[in-house]
């Protein structure tokens, strides 16, 4: 007979499946490399991201300044690294926050149905009918530009996807017999929701969180570009790109936007391919 399979061996098996998906591995590689680079930014560069050096303004890339310097003579390489740290954190936390809300709402709505569900559903329809970016801009106008606010805003405007996902899963899972039998021997609703159904509904959420992270990193960049993201004095990928609003930067100082833009694209590409790989793993049909 087969050897006893444990949870960790399931993980191992999935991992070996994932490894076979070369794109996903490539994505993971990018994520890990960029992630590590931003985490250990202080080891990679001796420049401070805020180190103004007015005698060295807008220097093109050189051996000294790997990716050149910006209008204040700050090292672009260092800013991209430190900026990434915050951008990735914002993206990830935003996605996790949104997933958290979506999961809670989705489980409750999906499990209990009835008016709770109907209200949540209506609410989601309303939120969905606002373009997220507009909503985010309004929220930011109301609550101010702040890293934490931005994360909250991402969460508050972004839960619809996970909500629908989890709700759908709950709708189908709550009629599965294993749930019914839990009810039949008197398990409480909360334990059923969070102990029994949720773990079964959570895998697609993981994929969704991955893809949402990518989305939010892009959103942060977009907002930063528009000058509406986190306070512009904090370096993030978006804020670094803010300077590219003026055409003379686009024309004359290509390194100020090309490098940060490419790094964002690369990171998001990595997250997306990894997310796709994960999804293929979970749902080979898609």
């Amino acid at each position: 007979m087969k050897s006893v399979t444990t949870r960790s061996s399931i993980v191992q098996k999935q991992w070996s499946n994932l490894k076979r998906n070369r794109l996903a591995v490539f994505g993971l590689f990018i994520i890990v490399v960029l992630g590590l680079a931003t985490i250990f930014a202080d080891l990679l560069t001796s420049y401070s991201p805020n180190g103004v050096d007015l005698s060295n303004r807008v220097q093109p890339p050189s051996t000294e300044h790997f990716l050149g310097t910006d209008k204040l003579g700050r090292d672009v390489f260092s800013r991209v690294l430190y900026g990434g740290r915050l951008s990735i954190t914002i993206g990830l936390c935003g996605a996790l926050g949104a997933a958290f809300l979506g999961v809670i709402f989705g489980s409750i709505g999906g499990y209990f149905g009835g008016w709770v569900d109907r209200i949540l559903l209506r609410l989601s329809e309303v939120v969905m009918s606002f373009p997220a970016l507009v909503l985010i801009m309004i929220f930011i106008a109301i609550f101010g530009q702040d890293v934490f606010n931005l994360i909250i805003v991402f969460a508050v405007t972004g839960w619809i996807g996970e909500y629908r996902l989890v709700r759908g899963r709950f709708l189908s899972l709550k009629n599965e017999y294993f749930v019914e039998s839990c009810r039949a021997y008197g398990m409480s609703n909360l334990r059923i929701i969070f102990g029994q159904i949720l773990p079964n509904a959570i895998t697609p959420v993981i994929v969704s969180v991955t893809l949402a992270t990518a989305l939010y990193v892009i959103a942060e960049a977009g907002l930063g570009y528009l000058g509406l993201g986190v306070p512009p004095t904090t370096p993030t990928w978006g804020n670094i790109l803010n300077s590219a609003q003026s055409i003379d930067v686009v024309r004359e100082y290509w390194w100020l936007w090309l490098f940060p833009g490419s790094v964002i694209s690369l990171f998001v590409l990595g997250v997306n391919t990894f997310g796709d790989g994960l999804r293929d793993l979970i749902d080979p049909n898609q």
């Binding site: 805020n50 180190g51 103004v52 007015l54 005698s55 303004r57 209008k71 204040l72 003579g73 700050r74 106008a141 101010g144 530009q145 000058g227 306070p231 512009p232 004095t233 803010n242 300077s243 609003q245 003026s246 055409i247 003379d248």
Partner: protein
């Protein structure tokens, strides 16, 4: 008037204009050949509608189409007649009498009358955002009663035929200058409008005036076409047609490189000015104008800066000279007071200067027992890149001497945040002022700053000087007073002066010959538009 110009540089709206690479159809080229191509350097012109000419920094186009009773010189001091054929000031400087020109027509053919003047003054007093008239119109007799609605008639303004006499309660030294910047609006069109809803009157879709040009076509957000007004009472302008275009800052250079712009004023972007000056045929003119950048100190709410040594230390810590030289390429000067050297009469050369000296800064801080563990809270409320850059620079220099900083962008109800909550140690401001007296006005008793965040830091000496200044019209006396006030400021440092920015106007000299006078773009001054000429 003066301006919160910083905020508009981030102007999003934008519109059309031609890029250097686009050499399209004939109709357009033709149009541009005969018309004077004016750009709106101000950036905020007629985005969606024209704004009431009385509010702060409205459109930039009103100087072409409308007029006041008087007009200042480009240096902002002396005044000349404009709608008024002559003016008299009584000896006690309390009564001003203006005799209007005989035949002046509005662009719609109606006659301009003294009624228009009286109505305009009265309406402006009631119109909430009529910034230009603050202080000056307060002085008019019967102001309070009229403003509160107790009487229907402003006692101090009387008309008799085509003379208008204005009686003041107390002397106001700058009255003539203020009235010269005040646009008279047509009563026959706006007279019936609800005053607080004046801005919503359809009139503002295509306003008319008494100026040398009238608007013939408007594409909001894009351009307006001006044509010489046939019934203009002054000399007929040489240029018959003007294409007044709205150009976002980023598009100015391509436009100029394509020679599609003859004139643009109020240029403040250093790189842009630098690059325009390199385009053959173009010339940039430095405009005598006050445009200061400085920090206000929160004297009441922040104990940290209570000791003057700390405030001095901050100035010593920041290498303003390098900033000016490197990032502004010499297009700015380090400020010691509020009046730039270009206003030679009022500029005080002998005031305290705080040179870059980080060691001294540290020393001063230590003397003052400064708590290095607490961050210095720096606030700002203009959300453009240039401001952000400056904040980063300031933070950098302060951190160099061991002062931690916490920079925050104020958003929302700014009046509340700045004056009442006042959760900052220093706050950044950048203001353009038409004249030296206005530049020092935040040091007056009536300023919000004094009434709120400087509360308790009375400065009797300054207040009495300010009062004297307000009432004096003699230019020499005024210059002396201004110098004195500026010196006191520099010694007390409630305001940390940073630098005076230069402002420029760019002219395509290969095509346009102007009258050679360039003044503050936000203020009505004598531009001699009728002398402008297109070559060829």
């Amino acid at each position: 008037a003066c301006s919160n110009d910083e905020k508009v540089t981030n102007e999003t709206d934008s519109l059309d204009n031609e890029s250097s690479n686009d050499n399209s159809n004939d109709a357009k080229t033709e149009a541009s050949n005969e018309a004077l191509l004016v750009g709106d350097g101000n950036g905020e012109v007629f985005g969606e509608t024209f704004r009431t000419f009385w509010v702060d920094n409205p459109n930039g186009i009103e100087y072409w189409i409308n007029r006041g009773l008087l007009k200042r010189d480009a240096d902002m001091k002396n005044v000349h007649e404009d709608l008024a054929a002559k003016y008299e000031v009584s000896d006690d400087e309390l009564t001003y009498t203006f005799t209007l020109k005989d035949v002046v027509k509005w662009h719609d053919g109606e006659e301009f009358t003294a009624e228009d003047v009286k109505w305009s003054i009265e309406t402006a007093i009631k119109f909430p955002t009529a910034v230009d008239t603050w202080y000056a119109f307060d002085a008019i007799k019967g102001y309070e009663a009229y403003k509160e609605g107790e009487v229907d008639n402003l006692e101090g303004v009387k008309i008799k035929g085509n003379t208008v006499s204005i009686e003041l309660r107390y002397p106001y030294g700058m009255f003539l200058q203020k009235i010269s910047n005040f646009d008279i609006l047509p009563k026959h069109l706006l007279g019936d409008a609800d005053i607080v809803k004046l801005q919503q009157d359809p009139y503002w879709k295509k306003p008319i005036g008494t100026g040398p040009y009238k608007i013939t076509e408007v594409k909001f957000g894009e351009y307006a076409v001006l044509e010489a007004f046939e019934d203009y009472d002054g000399p007929e302008p040489n240029v018959k047609k003007v294409l007044y275009q709205r150009i976002p800052e980023g598009k100015v250079l391509p436009k100029i490189q394509a020679k599609e712009l003859d004139y643009i004023g109020a240029l403040r972007n250093v790189d842009l000015v630098d690059q325009i000056s390199k385009v053959p045929g173009y010339k940039v003119h430095k405009v005598p104008q006050i445009y200061n950048r400085y920090f206000m100190v929160n004297m009441k709410g922040s104990q940290k800066l209570e000791d003057i040594k700390v405030r001095q230390a901050i100035l010593h810590a920041i290498d303003r000279k390098t900033i000016v030289e490197e990032t502004f390429k010499g297009q700015a000067e380090v400020a010691d007071g509020h009046v730039p050297p270009s206003f030679a009469d009022e500029h005080n050369k002998n005031i305290e200067k705080y040179e870059y000296d980080p060691d001294k800064a540290v020393e001063l801080l230590e003397e003052a027992g400064f708590d290095f563990s607490q961050p210095l809270k720096i606030a700002y409320y203009y959300d453009n890149q240039e401001t952000v850059d400056l904040m980063n620079i300031v933070a950098f220099y302060l951190e160099e001497i061991g002062v931690k900083t916490e920079i925050s962008l104020l958003k929302g109800d700014l009046l509340e945040l700045i004056y009442h909550q006042a959760d900052y140690d220093i706050i950044y401001a950048a203001l353009s002022q038409p004249d030296p007296a206005s530049a020092i006005q935040s040091y007056s008793e009536g300023s919000l700053m004094f009434q709120t965040v400087w509360d308790g830091y009375q400065y009797d000496q300054v207040f009495s000087l300010q009062e004297e200044l307000a009432q004096t019209s003699d230019l020499e006396d005024r210059a002396r007073l201004i110098k004195e006030i500026d010196k006191i400021q520099a010694e007390s440092l409630y305001i940390l002066p940073f630098y005076h920015m230069n402002v420029y106007a760019a002219v395509n000299e290969s095509r346009l010959k102007t009258a050679g006078e360039y003044g503050n773009e936000w203020v009505d001054y004598k531009r001699h538009l009728e002398n402008w000429q297109l070559k060829n």
